[in-house]
């Protein structure tokens, strides 16, 4: 123990631990976000212009990834879809985490009656299969971006509650939390200063993975026609639209699917970094 003194330059070590896949994942996600969020500011993505002559056209200088069955530019639609998918993905996860984590921490730290009530509600929601619950909510609320988000947030929040509760309980049992109690630190201060920063890596990692699932659920809902309204392109609605032509021209399904696949893969790879031993060594998750 005494000889295993870590060098102080932990940032450098952390950077060195990054792999090529992480760089690729980050690049992809960065480009996608940039294209989805920034490009529309500078040039109008034409997602709507139909063209009878250019139906199901292959890639060309004008349409890099070709066009769909209405002659609309696939790349433009995929990027525009990214905007919706990322908004729903990050938005619903942020909402679920912001609601779920504080509740989970309360349950985990205070235990007792608070825990009993919160856990009961969580158990009830989790008794429904997540996707079915989302489906039911979406069909009940009607198709719109915000309703899709609600349909995703409701089944996702309890998982954050559970995660935060479990993490909090494990952190709260550690000696440094007891040490803080002994010096007389108030409960809220312990929760904010000692517990939160130490459960954050696990929560972030799970949140990133959840963004992937949220995008997937959005795709599923839109694919079933219960998600984003058809006039607003999203990856799910594009796949839905392309599925009739799957044998004729698989590109219509392949392009949005590939976007979705790469995005979710990238998110999962980045999430792995938060859970890796090197992250743990720098004070991350056990």
């Amino acid at each position: 123990m005494s000889t295993a003194i870590l060098p102080t330059g932990s940032w450098r070590r952390r950077l060195r631990a990054w792999r090529l896949t992480d760089a690729l994942s980050l690049t992809w996600l960065g480009l996608l976000a940039l294209a989805a969020l920034a490009l529309p500011l500078f040039l109008q993505l034409d997602t709507e212009t139909m063209s009878a002559t250019e139906r199901l056209a292959g890639p060309s200088a004008q349409h890099w990834l070709g066009t769909d069955n209405y002659g609309r530019d696939l790349l433009a639609r995929a990027l525009s879809g990214a905007r919706v998918s990322l908004l729903i993905g990050f938005g619903s996860v942020a909402a679920a985490a912001l609601i779920g984590v504080p509740l989970g921490m309360l349950a985990g730290y205070l235990k007792g009656a608070v825990d009993a009530v919160i856990s009961f509600v969580v158990d009830v929601i989790l008794a429904f299969p997540g996707l079915v619950l989302a489906l039911a909510l979406a069909s009940f609320l009607g198709a719109s971006v915000s309703n899709v988000m609600i349909a995703i947030v409701v089944p996702m929040t309890p998982v954050f509650v559970r995660l935060a509760k479990a993490q909090t309980m494990s952190v709260a049992g550690r000696e440094y939390v007891e040490a803080s109690q002994v010096i007389g630190t108030r409960t809220w201060s312990i929760v904010v200063r000692d517990v939160l920063p130490n459960i954050l890596p696990a929560v972030l990692a799970y949140a990133l993975v959840s963004v992937g699932s949220a995008i997937l659920i959005e795709g599923g809902l839109s694919f079933l026609g219960m998600g984003v309204p058809p006039e607003q392109p999203s990856w799910g609605s594009m796949i839905n639209n392309g599925r009739i032509f799957i044998s004729e021209d698989p590109r219509l399904v392949a392009v949005p699917s590939l976007f979705m696949l790469l995005t979710i893969l990238g998110l999962n790879l980045i999430a792995d970094r938060f859970l890796s031993p090197s992250a743990a060594a720098t004070g991350g998750v056990r």
Binding site: M1, E178, G184
Partner: protein, 315 residues
Amino acid sequence: MKQPIFTLENGSVRYGHGHPDAVSDVTVRLYPGEILGLVGESGCGKSTTARAMLGLVPLSAGRLTLHGTPVNPHDRRLRAAVQAIFQNPAASFNPRRSLLDSVAEPLRVHGQGTARQRRERALEELDRVGVTAQMAARRPNEVSGGQCQRAAIARATILRPEVLVCDEPVSALDVSIQAQILELLAELRTEQGLAMLFISHDLGVVASLCDRTAVMYAGRMVEQGAATEIAGNPRHPYSVALQDAVPSLDLSDGLAPRIRTRTGADDVDGRLLPGCRFAALCPSATPECTAAAPVLAELAPRHEVACHHPFDPAP
């Protein structure tokens, strides 16, 4: 006679329903300038006793007193007067903060001084226990266990408490470092007149540092007395077995164990026995022992034993 500063009186702790008491009817009295050692095998309730005295677990029976008056575990008087040092040096610090921050934290919590003054005081305190400013700027996982434990002592003493509860403070350290920490604790006792509860499973450590020693078995206090007495002249059969088991470094020492515990009863949970909790292993057990639990009684001045048939060194 001196009055105890801080006591746990007839304390019992139970972790959840359906469990037997982790500790039952335990009394601990801490006197200024005196270190009380608490020994016993793992699971016998040493940490639970410490946690109860720190108000970290609720008492199901019994009470705490400070300067002779009962004190509630959440009382802020307790928080300033009673501090703690834990076993695992690195784990007792928030891994995301520097040692200096953590050592200054008690001052912040108790609203003393400006941020700058607190820093100065923390650096002073750290220097006193032998941690340099350069080390203090590091995080707990970036320094050695010994350095971390020194910082833990600085954090515990920065409020000038009257009582220090130390739960296995040297168990994770190598002997050469352990001796450094013991020296530091002995200094605190004499210079600041601190009262200490010192938990260890190492009988040698307790014998060399403590003034009095208490022996626990299966959640009960079975013997208490002067440290040299408990080491040299234990009277409870369990204490004798414990002392016999220590592999002494002085190879010329007599080796023959004074007591042979009964074999084959290792898995018996003493807490569930109706009478004496050591009865299943005790070679001197009689029907009286299984019928009624012995209570602590003074066998010699300041030497208490809970046993119906105490070990007699010269029969």
